[in-house]
Structures are given as C-alpha cells and as structure tokens.
Symmetry: C2
C-alpha cells in the first residue's frame, strides 16, 4: 500500500505533537534526525500493544493511542529521562479513515501534553498492533536504574496502586469502564516530573507495570538484595477501596499490574529531603517498605509478621 | 506471559550483538541507555515485517531476522549514519524455542557483522510480526537527506537493481529461492560504508525500497525538481539478465523494489572525486541520470527520448 501509505502519513501523522528544539528532521525521510542535548545520555524503550491481547476490539482509538504513548513515557520517567520524541509502527488491517482520525487526534493530544513529538514511523497492513519507541535524554550519570539500591534504603511508590486492576474488574463485571478507575487505566499518568526530581535522590527505580510484588523483585535481583513490603502502607485510592473493600484493594495493589507508578529506593539520609521536594511539587509519594539483606520479596502485615504471597494476594489470580 | 518473557529474553536476547563503546545499559532495565558520540546527531528509523504481508509462513527464522535488521540499517546508510544499536519488538504466536533459537542466531550474526548491538526490546504474544528500531550517529551537518539536490546534479545508485524482484519471481515460479538472486533478497547489503563516504559528496540520498522510479520521485519532490533516469544506464546483475532478459531486468530495476541500494545525487563538480573514492573502497556506483528543472520522474531511452512509465515498465505490475 505504498502510495496510499504516503498520503495516510501526510494526512494523519506528519508534524504530530509539534516540533522541538531537538528535532532536526521529522517524518518523511529515511530516518528522523535528533540533536541530543549536550551532556546527556539517550534513554530508549519500545512497547507493543496487540489487539486481542493487550486491548479488545472496538476500544476507542484515541484513548488507545494515548495509552500506548503513556506506557512508553512511563519507562522514560522510570529512568529520570525527559522525552525527546517517539516513533510509531502501526499495523492496521485496513486504512479506516475514521479510526485513523480518532487515533491520530488522541495521539497528538498526549504528544503535545508531554512535549514528545512524533519523529518517524512505519505503517503496515496486518493484524492491529501499535508499537511505540520512545526516546528521552537524561544527564550523564543521573539515570535511575534498577541496580543501585543498598540495604537499608527505603522503598517508595508514587500515586496509588491497584486502580487499573479495579477498572478491568468493573469492565468484566458490567461492561462499564469504572469511572475514576477507568480513567486511571486508560490515561495512566507518566510520572515524568517526579522522575526528573528523583534523579537527585533515588538509588534505584522502575515503573510498576506487572504488579508491585513482581516489579520490586526486579530491584531486589538487580541490586542483590531482598525487598520488604509493608502491605498496610500500600497507597490505595478511595475509589478502589469503596468499590472493592480494603482486602481486595490491597491484593490488587500488590499484584494487579498496569499501575505505571514509579517504585524507587532512597537512602534514609535523603528520605526527608526527597519527601519535602516531591510534596512541594505536588507529587504524592508513600513509603511502603525497605531494602534488606537477602533475596526475594517479603510482604509483612502491620505487626511486621511475614505474609505468604498467597495470603498477600497471589492466590486470587 | 510475564515470567516466561523474562526467561525468554535472558536466554535468547540479552547481550545479543555484543557491546559497544556507546552502549551504557542494554537489555533488562526500563530503558536502554546510550551515550551518543559527541558532535553527532542521532538518526532513528523503524520498520515492521508482518507474517503473510511481508514474508510467508515457514520462512527460515534466522534469515528473516537478519533481513529485518538489514532493512533498518539500509535506512541508516541512506542518512550516512553509523549504527549505534537497535531495539526489537517481537510479536509471537507462541514461545517456540527452536524458532527463537534460529531467529536469535541469525539476528546475532548480523548485529555483530554490522556492529549494531541489540539494546532493548519487547516480546508480546500475537500474530507474528517483527518491528526493529535502529539508531545511528551522523556528524552534525553531514546527514544525507532527500531534499538537498540541485538542478544539474548527477543521479547515482550503488550496486545493481531488480535482483530482489527476480528472486520473488523465481520463488513464485518454481518455489526455488533463485540462487544468487535469493541471496540478494534475503541478505540485502546495507550500504553503510558507502553512505559514510558519501557524506562528503552527496547532495541528497535515500535507499531504494519501493522501486527506483517511485523512490527517485521522493528526491525530486523533496528537492523541488524533476528526475531524469536513463533506462539504458541502470546497473543490472548478470544473473538477473541471464534469467529474465534485458527488458524484464530493466522493468524490475525501475519498479521491482526491495533493492536496498542507495540512490543519491552529486554535484557535477564533485562527481569525479566521488567516483574515485567509492571505487577505491570497492563500491560499485553507476550514474543513471540527473536532476533537472520541473517535477516528476522522466525515464529516457538511449536516444534521450522520453518513455512513458508504461513503456518503462509500470504497465506490467
């Protein structure tokens, strides 16, 4: 669909998200050209969403597009990187103009909001799938990785956990999107501003995509430590607790996945300053545990007694 | 398939293609980290190959992987960029270990050959599709774009044209890959070394992916000129002419596509020096026409008479 492809790209994607000081050449040549900010490293990540696996047929194209971009921006946030731009590889069963129009509008709105222009891409025919490659810049030596935690570091998360899982439950139960929870599923907020501030404080970080209990395990493994999570401290939204009760809310906070909050570690000596700076910028962060010697992830109750993963929620899934 | 995915990535993809001076952090964190060479711009490109559209079920996974990488490297070559690394988004119907083993071996061989390590990726379940994002570096102000040609510039291509189309014809006719032509289809040579040399000489460049007649049109449009292509000058391989005759070979050179040769323009005052330097480094380049005032692509015969696109080959497709 070569000729058709050019027209489609011009119409729906050229110039999407505006320009940027770092974008030298955007959509329309063999490659995009980016001028990386001096003294920075480039952070790059890619994610694919496939119809029938990651989303169901018939979902609103603009929301889908925005979510695809936000998931990638969340990975940039987890490194403390500022967005430079993204590439879109879009596989479509047919060139449905109404679908493309809604998709590109949703994508443009979020690309502008997060100052992350579309710089290039590829459109192909095939089963519907969206692959986004996001690029960001982070000052040399300041990137947040998974491997820097030390024993004794406190463990934190941004925002609240479990809401995406609540939205999926509401959808499965009655076909509704679940109001506030649905908004959290479809429009997860990439914690770019928090990630930028955390460059100064965090010893390790990642974004919570597969469920907190699993994801903190990556910090534990990469840092050669164990992770102790205080289940009673997990930040829960009022909407989630009201809809499903505290026990289910905690289970979903541990295991639900797709939260796209940052989980990070901070040395105790820096914890107070970090909390002040993040709060001053309007970011909610909650201390949920600590890194300890050993390996694996241990969940503990309010008395400090270890919960098996089954009791902490795993058995329900 | 989260847990399974981690094991699969560790086994088949971590460290693929080796390291590089510019790769700070590879597969296994939220993002890869790359240290771009100072004074360079970043060139980025993405391409997707979908089973049933771009390749048929059952084709050899290692060759498929190598081809997917080479197509992207060809886009870097067309900008005059040196490879820095690539991201792989792989969508698979199932985690078939034999398939993954062959795929990753083929990919590793070409990643090493072209000094372009795998830096990150995503594996998802779904209909088989391969999306590669390649990143390269090009010294500031030296990138080869489509828009820099002037009237009077000579038009050149590297290598020979039409061989991939010949390979597909052989495959359709008797199921054979077509020997030497098949090699050209499955293992197109990204003209990275030629692209690097052409930074000094070329006014515009692209890689020939959709067929020369269509692709030179992009240089014409981007540069605000017309393109005059001398059909008798098109470089043809002996294998293609022997198998299909001169007329068909010329048609396929103009319209066949998937050649992944560089097509570029050079000011007449620089043409002699360019030819010498490219020849000294073992690169075949052929002058096939010139940029002229006007718009569109004009094909001319040996007497300089214009051929309609039908007579030049388009009618056959």
């Amino acid at each position: 669909m070569a000729i058709r492809e050019f027209a489609l790209i011009r119409r729906y994607f050229a110039g999407l998200g505006g320009g940027s000081d770092h974008l030298v050449l955007g959509v329309g040549d063999d490659c995009a050209l980016i001028d990386p900010p001096p003294g920075c490293r480039l952070a790059v990540t890619v994610d694919t969403l496939v119809e029938g696996i990651h989303f169901q047929p018939g979902c609103e194209p603009g929301a889908l597009a925005g979510r695809a971009l936000r998931l990638n921006l969340s990975d940039l946030a987890a490194m403390g990187a500022d967005p430079l731009g993204f590439l879109l590889a879009l596989t479509l069963p047919a060139a449905d103009e109404a679908w493309l129009d809604a998709f590109s509008r949703g994508l443009a709105a979020d690309a502008e909001r997060f100052a992350c222009p579309l710089v290039g891409g590829d459109t192909t025919r095939g089963p519907l799938a969206i692959t986004i490659t996001a690029m960001g810049a982070v000052p040399r030596g300041q990137a947040l990785t998974r491997s820097g935690a030390s024993a004794g570091d406190y463990l934190y998360v941004t925002g609240t956990l479990g809401d995406s899982r609540g939205a999926l439950a509401a959808l499965a139960a009655d076909g509704s999107g679940g109001g506030e929870l649905a908004e959290r599923f479809w429009r997860p907020e990439p914690r770019l501003a928090a990630g930028r501030l955390l460059r100064e404080f965090a010893s390790a970080a990642l974004d919570v995509s597969d469920g907190l209990a699993q994801d903190v395990g990556h910090i534990a493994v990469a840092s050669g430590l164990a992770c102790r999570v205080e289940v009673a401290s997990l930040p829960l939204s009022a909407a989630l607790v009201a809809a499903y009760g505290i026990d289910t809310a905690r289970q979903w906070a541990l295991t639900g996945g797709e939260d796209f909050e940052l989980c990070f570690t901070v040395p105790p000596s820096r914890a107070g300053a970090m909390e002040q700076v993040l709060a001053a910028h309007g970011h909610r962060v909650t201390r949920i545990g600590a890194m300890v010697d050993g390996q694996g992830v241990v969940c503990v109750d309010e008395q400090g007694a270890a919960l098996t993963l089954e009791r902490a929620g795993y058995a329900h899934f």
